[in-house]
Amino acid sequence: MKKQMKQRMNGYLRAGLLLGGVLTALIVLGFFWTPYDPNAMGDAGEKFLAPSFQHLLGTDDFGRDIFSRVLKGAGTTFTIAFCTVAIGAVVGTALGAVTGYFGGLVDEALMRLNDVLTAFPSILLALVVISILGPGNKYNVILALGLVFIPSFARVTRTAFASLRDVNYVKSARLMGASPARILAVHILPNTAHVLLPAVTIGFNNAVLAEASMSYLGIGVTPPDASLGYMLSEAQSLFTAAPWYAVGTGLAIVLLVLSAGLIGEGLQRAERGVM
């Protein structure tokens, strides 16, 4: 029974890793080589070509190869999402651990601050931060989104840490004189994995989507270095002339998020299986 379950659980993980692996390979490839120069404009006759073997996803309003642009764009999006989640997860978990475990005044103060940050809808907060940092720059987008993601990680982990604060093995570790840092990192943190891992995958998911939304509102990455989000918003105005542009770009986003989602799902199930 257990073996059987494990096999099924690994199915998601395997599918996710496979998809993720292929996408990552393509993205890495895109950093060094693309079928066409993603910014090279074609002649007037090469606009809005439908998908073909020459142009897998057709061409856009400047006669640029969409597949090459999607590869490059996915690279930008992937980098932004990865860094964003890294910032959010590390800082957020640290905050959540400290506040959840110690409680008291620190908890109160930080959770109030957290409330304040959560009260700004993520896009809005990103909008404010971007306006201060100056729009258009990839690193500013990462910083803005990273900041936005801290509160949600802190909230999720805080609840987990708080609920584990008084369980027996933590109590006994405390009695045995373990330092708080050790208790947090060694005793509690591994046991929050079932909360943290889905949060990371959902975070990645959200980061990709948030970047897309920001670019849609015109505060994301600047052309000609397009991200998937920017390209999708551009594609909307070309929907009648070149539906494959929107569909191809949209699909790239969906696949990217899907692979992260499947990995998360697989991990979660594997975790539960072991338990």
Partner: protein
């Protein structure tokens, strides 16, 4: 009800901090309203003159104090851009955005809770389960404005179920407006429903795997009775928290989706006002949206405290 009183006090405190932060943040942003108002006609003298007239040359805290005082007396100030009272400008939009976010929230709650409970308790087997999970993950992966593009194309350009770009207005045609908003609400809700279902399923499944449940069932208790009495109750806390957080995401989503559906709501107004540095309007909208989100959080905390008294915060703990 000491806890409730404390929580409400905290809400007010949070709102004060939010408004202060917003006030300061927008003060830092480069480019000032006087320059923006004068546009290409700006000269240093004219800018200075206008700054003085708008009172921008006074210290930040004084201006904030004045704003706060005005806020409590129902005076949100005058828009720099429109030369009209802020409230008069945004009042019709508050209703629109409120309706949109409520509609989205209802869609999410009504669809995802039964679905989530079902998928957690009645595990489908093999391929079906895989398909279910895959579908769930797919829904999560679709950006709301991509859905918006597709919905508009299908239902406006092709089927003509609604006329994109002619929102009737809540006052003149309430049900027509709701129908228009529903399309936007669906775009917001789809990924959120998938997330809530997934969240519910893993929470309930975790709970089901716990010893007390196994024990209870092995002792011959009715499975659905255990489910209702213990499992669901214990899974509620994170779910309620999650739904409250969803409200923040809905509000964020509405900013983008309003743009995509050309809905004259707070989101569009906000993005435009940040662009034109119309601080009084920006400030008012932020406080309203933030209040909406914080309120959801507070309500969630109050509900959670009812469900699980262990969760009392700070000094409230036994």
């Amino acid at each position: 009800m000491k806890y409730a009183a404390k929580r409400i006090a905290m809400l007010l405190f949070t709102m004060v901090i939010v408004s202060l932060l917003a006030f300061v943040a927008f003060d830092v942003i480069s480019g000032d309203p006087a320059t923006a108002m004068l546009g290409t006609q700006a000269t240093p003298e004219r800018v200075a003159e206008l700054r003085a007239e708008l009172g921008l040359d006074r210290p930040l805290l004084v201006r904030y104090g004045e704003w706060l005082l005005g806020f409590f007396t129902g005076n949100l100030g005058i828009s720099y851009s429109y030369h009209q009272p802020v409230w008069e400008l945004i009042a019709p939009k508050v209703g629109v955005t409120l309706c949109l976010s409520l509609l989205s929230f209802v869609l999410i709650a009504v669809i995802s809770v039964p679905l989530g409970v079902r998928s957690a308790t009645r595990r489908s087997q093999g391929i079906l389960s895989g398909a279910e999970t895959l579908f769930n993950q797919l829904c999560m992966a679709v950006p709301p404005f991509f859905t918006a593009i597709l919905l508009t194309f299908c239902f406006s350009t092709v089927l003509r179920w609604f006329v994109h770009g002619s929102f009737p207005g809540l006052g003149s045609d309430f049900f027509g407006s709701l129908r228009y908003l529903l399309f936007a609400a669906v775009s917001i809700a789809i990924p959120r429903i998938a997330m809530t279902v997934r969240m519910l399923r893993s929470t309930i499944a975790d709970e089901l795997g716990k010893d007390y449940v196994r024990t209870a069932i092995s002792r011959g208790n009715d499975r659905s009775g255990v489910l209702r009495r213990h499992v669901l109750k214990n899974s509620l806390v994170p779910v309620v928290t999650f739904l409250a957080q969803t409200m923040a995401e809905i509000v964020a989503g509405s900013i983008v989706v309003e743009q995509a559906f050309a809905i004259p709501g707070l989101g569009r107004m906000l993005v435009a006002s940040i662009g034109s540095r119309d601080y009084p309007v920006v400030q008012a909208i932020i406080v309203i949206l933030a209040f909406w989100v914080v309120l959801a959080g507070t309500v969630a905390d109050l509900i959670n405290q009812r469900i699980d008294p262990r969760l009392r915060l700070g000094g409230g703990a036994s």
